[in-house]
Symmetry: C2
Subunit: 354 residues, 2 copies
C-alpha cells in the first residue's frame, strides 16, 4: 500500500537522526531498514498490465521509439528527449520541440518508468502507453496527429508487416492505440538492474562503501524516504513541492501548479509525483524546472524545502554518494533499422505552423 | 583510374542501347561489364589512411557520433542528420539545425562514405575526419566551437578515459583533431556489404531478377555509369548537374553553384560530386536540393538533364528495380552509453544566438 500524504509528512517530521560519522555500520540492520522501504529492480523485464513482451512487439516498439518520422517535422523521436545513452533524459533544462519551442518541464527518464504509479511529473497518464500518446501530439513537442501517425505507419510496408507480427490476433493491427502499446512494450524492457544498492539490498555487504551506507541511513532517517520510496525511490506517489519552505521561483516557478492542473483540487497545488531517483547521478539537470545542475544542490534544496532542515555538507555528500549507488546497468539497445518510406508516406513538415 | 570529365561525356553520348525486354540475358557478359565499372563493398571495414580501427577508437567514435552534447544546443548529434536507422540520412529535404534553421543542402549518407573520393556534395572535405569538423561548427547545424567541444570532452571523466584508450601513444589525447579522427574510425565501420548486386557481381546469377539485370544493363549502356561508377556508384568524381539540359530551378537552385564555391573556377559552376547510389532506395529525398521524393522521378530527371534523353517508363522502372539491388546489409549499432557530465561541463545553450 502507498503511504497517504499525512502519514508521509508525519514520517518526515518524526525521522530519527542518521548514523554519526564514527559509528560502526550494522549492515544487517541497515539492510533490514532498506528492505522495508525499497525494492530491487528485477533482473528481467515485467510485462505491463494488458500488454505482452513478445519479441515482435518489443522490436516494433523500438522502431517506433527511434523513428523521427513519428513527428510532424521528421526531426523528433521519443529518443530525442529520452536518450537511451543518457539514462533516458536529454540533459536539457527543458526539452526543445517543434519549431524550436521550449517545453514546460524537464524530460523525465523512461528507464524503469514501468515501475512508476503513473507517468509525467503530474501523473496525468496512468501508464506508459497513455504517456506515449502525449508528446507525439503536443504542439511544442512532436506536433503530430494520431491520423497522420497512422497514415505514416500504413504507408510503409515494413510497419504493416511489423504491426501484423506484433498484434497477430487483430484484424486491423495498425492503430494509434497499438502504436502506444508497442512503445510501452519496448519501454518496459528499459530497466537498470544490478545497481550497487540493489546488490547491497540483496545481501552483498561489500557492494557499497561506508560513506554510501551512511548516506543510505541518512536518506532513511532524515525523512527523504517519506517521498522517495519503493522500487524507484520515487514515482510511487504525489507530494507537495515546498512542503515546509517554498524554494526559489526558478526552482518552483509559480505558473506551474503541478498536479492541480490534472485534478483541479486546491490540495494539489504545487503537488508533483516524487521524482524517481534511480540513476539520478546520470540525469542532471534536476527538478521539473530543470534549473539545478548539481546533485548536491538538489539534495540541499530538498532538505530545506521538504524537510525544513539545513543539512550539513558532510551529510549531503554522503547522500549524494549513496544516490550514486542507484546507477544500474544501462540498457544495451541495438539501434533499429527503420522501415523505408512508401510512395504515399506523408512528407515531413518542419515548417508547419499550427 | 577515374575517368576524366570529357571521357565521361563521350561515353554518355556514344552509349549503346540497353538490352531489349525480350532479349535473353547473358549473365557472364553482364557481370564482366559490371566488373569493369563497379566494385563490391568489402565485407570487412577498411582503415582510413592514417587512422586505426582499434575497438577503443571505434567505440569512442560511436560515442561522439551519438552525443548531442557535441552541439551548442545539446540537441543535435551526427546521428540527428545521419541516422543509422535510415540508411545514414534524415529523410528531410534539407536538415534542420540550431534554432530551427534549415541547412542549404540535403544531408548525404555516411554509410560507405569512406569509399568516396572526398566528402560533402561539393567535395570540400578530403576525408571523413575533415568532414566531421564541419557540421559541428556550422552556425545552421550544431553551432559549436572546437574550444567548447574540447572543454566538454575534458570535463567528463568518461571521455578522458576513452580518449586515452583510443589514442594511447599521445600525451594529450583530447583534441578537436582526435575528436574527428575517432568519428572517422567509427564511420569507416558503417559499410553495407552483401547487397544483391554485390552477390551478382561476385558470381551469383540468381541474386538479381531479369528486370533488375535489364536495369543494370541499361544503367551501363545509356550512360548513367559515366558519372555513377566505382565502389559507390558515384562519389568518385565531380560532374556538372544539367550537363545537357538544365533541370528546373527547384531541383537545381540557381543560388547554389556547387563546387564553384570551393574552387572559384568557372568550369566548376553547378558541378557536384556524383551522388553515391549505394542504398539509394532508402535515402529519399534526392539531389542536393532534396526536392525529388520519388526514385523514378530522380532517374527521369537524370536522364533528361545528364543524358539528353527521355527514357521510356519501362526502362526507368528497370533502372529503379536495379538500384534496389544496391541496398546492402545495414549496420547494427548498439547505441552507446554516453559519459556522465562533470561539474564543469559547459551547459547546453539552446537559445544561443551568434
Amino acid at each position: 500500500m502507498k503511504p497517504s500524504l499525512p502519514a508521509a509528512i508525519a514520517l518526515a517530521v518524526t525521522a530519527l537522526p542518521a548514523f554519526a560519522q564514527d559509528e560502526a555500520i550494522d549492515n544487517a540492520t541497515l539492510r533490514e531498514d532498506a528492505q522495508f522501504y525499497f525494492e530491487a529492480i528485477p533482473t528481467e523485464p515485467v510485462a505491463p498490465e494488458g500488454n505482452e513482451l513478445t519479441p515482435a512487439r518489443v522490436d516494433l516498439g523500438a522502431m517506433l521509439f527511434f523513428d523521427p518520422r513519428m513527428s510532424r517535422s521528421g526531426l523528433f523521436s521519443c529518443q530525442s528527449c529520452h536518450n537511451v545513452g543518457i539514462a533516458g533524459v536529454d540533459g536539457l533544462e527543458v526539452s526543445i520541440g517543434h519549431g524550436w519551442q521550449q517545453g514546460p518541464r524537464n524530460a523525465p527518464t523512461m528507464l524503469n518508468a514501468i515501475f512508476n504509479i503513473a507517468q509525467f511529473w503530474d501523473g496525468r497518464a496512468p501508464d506508459l502507453a497513455e504517456q506515449a500518446k502525449g508528446p507525439v501530439q503536443a504542439g511544442v513537442e512532436m506536433n503530430n496527429t494520431p491520423e497522420n501517425v497512422v497514415a505514416t505507419l500504413e504507408s510503409m510496408p515494413g510497419y504493416v508487416e511489423a504491426f501484423a507480427a506484433a498484434f497477430p490476433a487483430e484484424e486491423a493491427p495498425i492503430s494509434f492505440d497499438n502504436f502506444a502499446v508497442a512503445i510501452e512494450a519496448f519501454e518496459a524492457t528499459l530497466i537498470t538492474p544490478n545497481s550497487r544498492f540493489d546488490q547491497f539490498l540483496n545481501g552483498d555487504d561489500e557492494a557499497m562503501t561506508d560513506q554510501e551506507k551512511r548516506g543510505l541511513a541518512a536518506f532513511i532517517n532524515t525523512g527523504c524516504v517519506s517521498c522517495h520510496a519503493g522500487i524507484n525511490f520515487g514515482g510511487q506517489d504525489y507530494f507537495p513541492f515546498g512542503l515546509i519552505e517554498r524554494p526559489g521561483g526558478s526552482v518552483l516557478p509559480e505558473g506551474d501548479r503541478g498536479r492541480f492542473e490534472v485534478t483541479q483540487t486546491a490540495d494539489d497545488e504545487y503537488v508533483f509525483r516524487a521524482a524517481p531517483l534511480r540513476n539520478v547521478a546520470l540525469t542532471a539537470p534536476y527538478f521539473h524546472s530543470g534549473v539545478v545542475w548539481d546533485l548536491s544542490e538538489a539534495v540541499a534544496v530538498m532538505s530545506s524545502s521538504q524537510l525544513g532542515t539545513e543539512m550539513e555538507e558532510e551529510q549531503i555528500e554522503e547522500i549524494v554518494a549513496f544516490l550514486g549507488t542507484l546507477t544500474g546497468e544501462q540498457p544495451q539497445v541495438v539501434h533499429p533499422i527503420l522501415p523505408v518510406r512508401g510512395s504515399n508516406t506523408p512528407k515531413p513538415q518542419p515548417m508547419y505552423v499550427q
